[in-house]
């Protein structure tokens, strides 16, 4: 595991990408890293493509990930994963929530949903882990915790112990959601552990 890295979060506005990237950022910070994160505001709640870019290391200057340099792509929606293919390299880890959200052109019947979108990534020899985060979160007791399931699945690729994430969830998440988020994190982590 590297001590510097670039994590690209992608998905659709309203999927909890900001919270997932915040938990990850706090985990990196408590492990002593410098970090910077770029967010997309304004359109975030209007159903458009959304990203958060998180970079960590000894000293981080730029808040933006260069194309070809994302070490981890954590994608909350199936086809949105493929949109960021030019950001990946051969050793990138790609973690994908299997959920599909239809973009307008699909919803109004103009084009079909690209169900095989992940093929464009695997065709480049990049490893892809698909997570049924929605179902796993439902089992954990709250579908809205799908984002934390994803953070759990990603956590094995980052240099922090489970206890660091648990501490973050215990201190940063409102009390009534803590237990379900801890369960969601653990269930997600099990997938890649």
């Amino acid at each position: 595991m590297s001590t510097t890295g670039n994590i690209l979060f992608s998905g659709v506005g309203g999927q909890g990408i900001l919270l997932a990237s915040e938990i990850t950022a706090y985990a990196l910070l408590s492990a002593g890293y410098d970090a910077k994160k770029s967010e997309v505001h304004g359109m975030a709640q209007r159903g458009g493509s959304v990203t958060a870019q998180l970079r960590y290391g000894k000293k981080v200057y730029s808040p933006l990930i260069e194309p070809g340099k994302a070490d981890i792509l954590i994608s909350f929606e199936l086809m949105e994963t493929a949109r960021y293919l030019p950001y990946l390299h051969k050793e990138s880890k790609v973690i994908v929530n299997s959920q599909q959200i239809k973009p307008p052109a699909v919803a109004n019947g103009q084009v079909a949903y690209p169900v095989n979108a992940l093929d464009s990534i695997t065709a480049q020899g990049v490893e892809v882990v698909v997570v049924d985060a929605f179902d796993i979160a439902q089992e954990a007791g709250e579908v809205k915790a799908a984002n934390v399931v994803m953070v759990g699945a990603m956590s094995t690729f980052l240099p922090m112990d489970v206890s660091v994430y648990e501490e973050i969830i215990n201190t940063r998440v409102p009390e009534r959601f803590r237990e379900v988020n801890l369960k969601a994190f653990a269930a997600g982590r099990k997938i890649t552990d």
Partner: protein, 601 residues
């Protein structure tokens, strides 16, 4: 994080904290991405008066008033907001201040959420004001505090420029010490300084030049600008977020980092240029530094190889200067676009659906969520220029077209934008006998920027009760005789109201009134969603044409249609996602086949 005083904050959160620590007492602004969160966060600190102003000119003038009264004051706005505030800006440069005054401009290279990407460093040059420009949240926090000190020291307003990648970037910042104004709060009459009539302004004009001379000395003394030693084969002069990209693309190189981007340290620039073999000026947008550096007679490169459009990043900076270093990237996948869309249950949709059916009208649009009415399938907006321009452009067209424009010109504006600068246009339209129709989309809030209250909302920036301007009475007061309020979710009533207004022989206002679905009281309410009885669906597509994100179309082949019990020629059926549906009923109103219903109805 290293110690207990370290915080993880966005640039905008850090700037709010800095304003508090700097001892700001009055702050005014109009919401605008990427500046909005500064005022939102500052409003949570004790001891600072904050407000949403109806527009940026008002906001800046409020801040000027506070500075004249001897307290530290802040005005925040997005880049295009400075255009609105430019009138007071250019003259407050002459008057100077008493309490420190900082005018924050949040520029939006790449136009993430803006209609242009103007480079507001040009305002510093044009208004003869110093401008500070940080590179990241931590520096923004320190620099804003310094800006207030500088303002009082040199009796000058200070422009403070950030960009999207500072405003909406999170990083580690530290708490700092509390400062306070050197000025005394109170009424102090100094007409020679504050009354800018020609004779007095001519005197102040000289003061402005003297002040620029002082500022140039400060620029040279290393308070804001620094040289980072390094490889002298290539030297870089850079500022703002571009500095970060230079540090990553060319970590070994010598750099002159400018924290004050106006005025420039001419001697330092010349001295630095003399020490390096080749000098590059790296800046986002305009060749602002480059032009001024070249005017000093210093040879340098810049926009001949670095783009003058859009955001930069490390990769663009590196490959612009070293084209051979371009890495081979995986090719982009071909995917359907995912543009933003009006929300499920958005009241604006009812108006735009009806406008989309009126093929021979020109829809003069404005700035807000409803600009999304431009996108298919509604495609019901024909122009959008700037805040408030919907009203005035329709009036201008009506005067140009004469009788040919009658019944064909509609302007569409949100409640907050109407309060911003729409009302001036309405006054003009009435005064000069326009023949067009104004639709005010009153969703009770400034929605696009994230639900900020405005003078028609009934609440102030803190959410406390405030006087709510009655929009219909305001319209009547300026002379509109026909004002009709309609519920946009009632598609048929909305259509009739629009039709009636267009047929009138006088100026008419239609107020479309229903709350934004992102307002907490709507968002958190229990909705009774509409559901599809798919066996009744005839595949007419009427509901799909609303473009609601909760409605999707399932296509069928002939065989599938027959096996599902539909007529062979039916090409598909519509399905409502009950989780996304907010129960607005617009689709229910359009369905002629009893395929859309909800529980208990």
């Amino acid at each position: 994080m290293t110690d207990a005083s370290s915080l993880w904050m966005s640039g905008n959160e850090a700037i709010a904290m800095a304003a508090y620590e700097a001892g700001v007492k009055v702050a005014s602004g109009y919401p605008g991405t990427p500046s909005t969160e500064i005022m939102e966060n500052l409003s949570k600190y004790e001891g600072v008066y904050t407000e949403w102003a109806p527009n940026e000119k008002v906001g800046l003038e409020v801040a000027i008033g506070a500075a004249f009264a001897g307290v530290r004051a802040l005005a925040t706005m997005k880049h295009v907001g400075v255009n609105v505030a430019a009138d007071p800006l250019f003259t407050v440069s002459y008057t100077g201040v008493r309490g420190g005054l900082v005018i924050l401009t949040a520029d939006d290279p790449e136009m993430h959420s803006s209609q242009n990407e103007q480079d507001n460093r040009n305002y510093a040059y044009a208004a003869k004001l110093p401008m500070l420009e940080p590179s990241d949240p931590a520096e923004a926090k320190e620099m804003l505090k310094e800006a207030f000190e500088l303002s009082e020291r040199l009796d000058t307003p200070v422009l403070f420029r950030i960009t999207t990648r500072i405003a909406h970037v999170k990083g580690i910042v530290s708490k700092g010490e509390m400062l306070s104004s050197q000025a005394e709060c109170g009424i102090e009459k100094s007409p020679a300084k504050f009354v800018m009539l020609p004779a007095l302004a001519r005197n102040r004009r000289k003061v402005v030049e003297e002040r620029m001379g002082e500022l140039k000395k400060i620029a040279e003394n290393g308070e804001y600008n620094r040289i980072e030693e390094g490889d002298k084969k290539r030297g870089f002069i850079t500022a703002g977020v571009a500095y970060l990209y230079v540090k990553e693309a060319f970590p070994e190189a010598a750099v002159l980092k400018l924290g004050m981007c106006w005025p420039l340290p001419e001697n330092e620039i010349k001295a630095f240029a003399a020490t390096v073999d080749e000098l590059f000026v790296v800046e986002e947008l305009d060749p602002f530094l480059e032009h001024h550096i070249k005017a000093m007679g210093v040879e340098c490169r810049g926009k001949d190889c670095i783009p003058n459009q859009g955001e930069l990043n490390t990769s663009i900076v590196r490959t612009s200067i070293e084209p051979d270093s371009a890495p081979e990237l995986f090719p982009p996948a071909e995917l359907p676009m995912r543009p933003p869309n009006m929300c499920a249950g958005c009241p604006h949709r009812g108006v735009f659906y009806n406008l989309s059916k009126m093929k021979d009208v020109f829809v003069s649009g404005d700035i807000g969520c409803y600009t999304l009415g431009f996108l298919p399938p509604l495609s019901a907006m024909d122009s959008c220029v700037c805040m408030g321009a919907s009203v005035t452009i329709a009036h201008g067209m009506s005067k140009a077209l004469g009788d040919a424009g009658k019944g064909k010109l509609i302007s569409v504006i949100g409640d907050s934008t109407f309060m911003h600068t729409g009302i001036n246009g309405l006054i003009n339209s009435i005064y000069n006998d326009s023949s067009s129709v104004l639709v005010i989309l009153d969703n009770r809030i400034t929605a696009m920027t994230g639900q900020q209250n405005n003078p028609a909302s009934g609440c102030n920036i803190k959410g406390e009760a405030a006087h709510a301007i009655n929009i219909e009475k305001l319209c009547e007061a300026v002379g509109v005789k026909h004002v009709e309020v309609v519920n946009p979710h009632d598609i048929k009533a909305c259509k009739e109201a629009l039709k009636k207004a267009l047929e009138l022989d006088e100026y008419a206002v239609v107020i479309s009134r229903a709350p934004c679905v992102l307002l907490p009281e709507i968002k958190n309410a229990v909705h009774n969603p509409y559901l599809t009885t798919t066996e009744n669906c005839k595949g007419c597509g009427a509901c799909v044409k609303l473009g609601c994100p909760a409605i999707s179309w399932t296509p069928m082949t002939k065989e599938e249609a027959v096996s599902k019990g539909y007529k062979e020629k039916q090409k598909g059926f519509a399905v409502i996602n009950g989780v996304q549906c907010n129960g607005c009923g617009q689709c229910f109103a359009l369905c002629k086949f009893d395929a859309i219903n909800r529980k208990g109805e």
